[in-house]
């Protein structure tokens, strides 16, 4: 062992702090998560399988994956564009754009959902116009996608902006001075520089997109087999006292979230050399 560092507390304090941290995580995070899996599998694997393969559950799973598959790529494109604009260029209204990007973080998800009901609902601003043309947004999949995009859009941009600010503009300027076009600079220089931050932003946005309850709940209409996402389906089952099925679907949702976390850890581990070589 090396000698004590000047910042280090005594052994007892150190272990006490580590112990408290672990205990806290165990009580607040692991215990509830464990309960979900315990309750989900208490009735046996057959019951679990039945709950997640039943037709309403299958449609909820499909819808959740579909919504994430639309919302996440759109927010990656938007997040990249916004972060690029904010960190590599100077323009007026930059602070305003930054504030707007943060809006979904400060607005309650329920309000986010209501905004779309007020705009596109039957009594909303564009409601009658849409109805005349037979376009359904509220109580249909487009509304759910819109609400999900709204609540997840800061994740990628917020992950990238500090990273790209820290990296500065000189790599891009070097590429330009070597004759690269804007697109070549982005593709060969900027993107490789930010890939880890981007990946992390994508995972966070994806986890939130699959798990969002409030905003989606307002616009969905809770039509079974049609507009229920996994979180909404879980609530319906729970309200019907169908605990075994509710926990089964909940455990599957938790697994989806854990898969993204594990994926991130694997990627970080496999590319640890490259990450270390970059120096951050």
């Amino acid at each position: 062992m090396s000698r004590r560092s000047p910042l280090q507390e005594s052994k007892a304090v150190k272990w006490l702090l580590i112990g408290v941290a672990f205990l806290y995580i165990a009580l607040i995070l692991l215990l509830p998560l464990g309960t979900v899996f315990y309750e989900a599998l208490r009735g046996g694997v057959a019951t679990w399988m039945e709950a997640v393969t039943e037709s309403n559950a299958r449609s909820a799973i499909t819808l959740t994956l579909l919504v994430a598959a639309i919302a996440v790529p759109l927010n990656v494109a938007f997040g990249l564009a916004a972060a690029w604009a904010i960190t590599k260029h100077d323009f007026r209204f930059k602070p305003l754009l930054l504030t707007l990007i943060d809006l979904p973080f400060s607005v309650s998800p329920v309000v986010s959902g209501l905004i779309y009901v007020l705009l596109f609902g039957a009594q909303g601003w564009f409601g009658s116009t849409l109805q005349d043309r037979g376009i359904e947004i509220i109580f249909a999949v487009p509304g759910i996608v819109l609400a999900t995009i709204f609540v997840t859009f800061p994740f990628v941009a917020r992950e990238l902006i500090p990273l790209m600010t820290e990296q500065g503009k000189s790599d891009e300027e070097a590429a330009l001075s070597l004759g690269a076009s804007g697109w070549q600079t982005f593709w060969h220089v900027t993107l490789p520089n930010i890939r880890w931050g981007l990946l992390y932003g994508v995972l966070l946005a994806n986890a939130r997109a699959m798990g969002e309850f409030g905003a989606v709940s307002v616009v969905s209409g809770h039509i079974r087999g049609e507009t229920n996402t996994m979180p909404l389906h879980i609530e319906v089952l729970y309200n019907e006292y169908n605990f075994a099925a509710a926990f089964a679907v909940a455990s599957l949702l938790a697994v989806l979230a854990l898969v993204t976390l594990v994926l991130k850890s694997i990627l970080e581990w496999r590319h640890r050399g490259a990450i270390a070589a970059r120096g951050h």
Binding site: S170, A174, S177, L178, G179, A180, N193, A277
Partner: protein, 238 residues
């Protein structure tokens, strides 16, 4: 090719960075832009490079007005104070970058690019370092790679922004000598920015001394020492 800077002004939100600067650099010359921080020397270099654009004034390369041309179209090589090497690319790919990104019809064959990379590695005395990554090199080596990369496309001018600023004295001297030798070998019109007057006088054919966005004197080192044009020059080179 010569560079003409005509009445160039540039203002950053509150203060003028350049207040009507004119300068003529002849073909093959090695020029230093010397001045204290905030004197506008880096801004002037970046405007010549096309990395910044003037509020008024004209930049000419030869007879051509390039004032509105972007950096990518100016045919320059630029060396940054902190190297700006691409960390995810090997030394060889860094040096080849300017060639690798050329459109297919203009791009040299693979073997030609590799030969050019080897030639440049030899020029900057880094033979055999092609497969390394920037993070595995010392500061001096990185700046040599940056120099090789800037030369890869045979630029018309070489522009260097405080190229030795981040290096220690010994490495600084070695690299300074190497740069002078390379300049004399290729005969490339070169401009470098520095705040160190000894460095400027040791290296440059002519030195432009900037203060508060204006050129105080532009002359050969000996003449500046003999006949300083203003009290500022006298005190700055003392």
């Amino acid at each position: 090719m010569s560079i003409r800077v005509e009445e160039v002004s540039k203002r950053f939100s509150t203060y003028p960075a350049l207040a009507g600067v004119s300068l003529e650099i002849v073909d093959g010359e090695f020029v230093a832009l010397l001045g204290p921080s905030g004197s506008g020397k880096t801004t002037l270099l970046r405007i010549i490079a096309g990395l910044d654009f003037p509020d008024s004034g004209v930049i000419r390369f030869g007879d051509r007005d390039v004032t509105d041309d972007p950096a990518a179209k100016r045919g320059i090589g630029f060396v940054f104070q902190h190297y700006a090497l691409f960390g995810h690319m090997s030394v060889a790919r860094n040096i080849a970058f300017g060639l690798d990104i050329l459109p297919r019809r203009a791009r040299p064959a693979r073997a030609e690019i590799e030969a050019r990379v080897d030639e440049l590695l030899k020029l900057v005395q880094l033979e055999g370092y092609g497969e390394r990554y920037p993070a595995q090199l010392s500061g001096g080596q990185r700046q040599r790679v940056a120099l090789a990369r800037a030369l890869a496309r045979n630029p018309r001018f070489l522009l260097l922004d405080e190229p030795f600023g981040a290096l220690d004295t010994k490495v600084r001297r070695e690299l300074r000598d190497a740069l002078r030798i390379i300049h004399d070998e290729i005969g490339l019109t070169s401009i470098f920015v520095t705040h160190d007057h000894e460095e400027a006088f040791a290296l440059a054919d002519r030195v432009a001394i900037l203060n508060a966005g204006r050129i105080e004197q532009f002359a050969a080192p000996a003449e500046i020492l003999e006949r300083p044009a203003s009290p500022f020059v006298t005190s700055f080179v003392a």
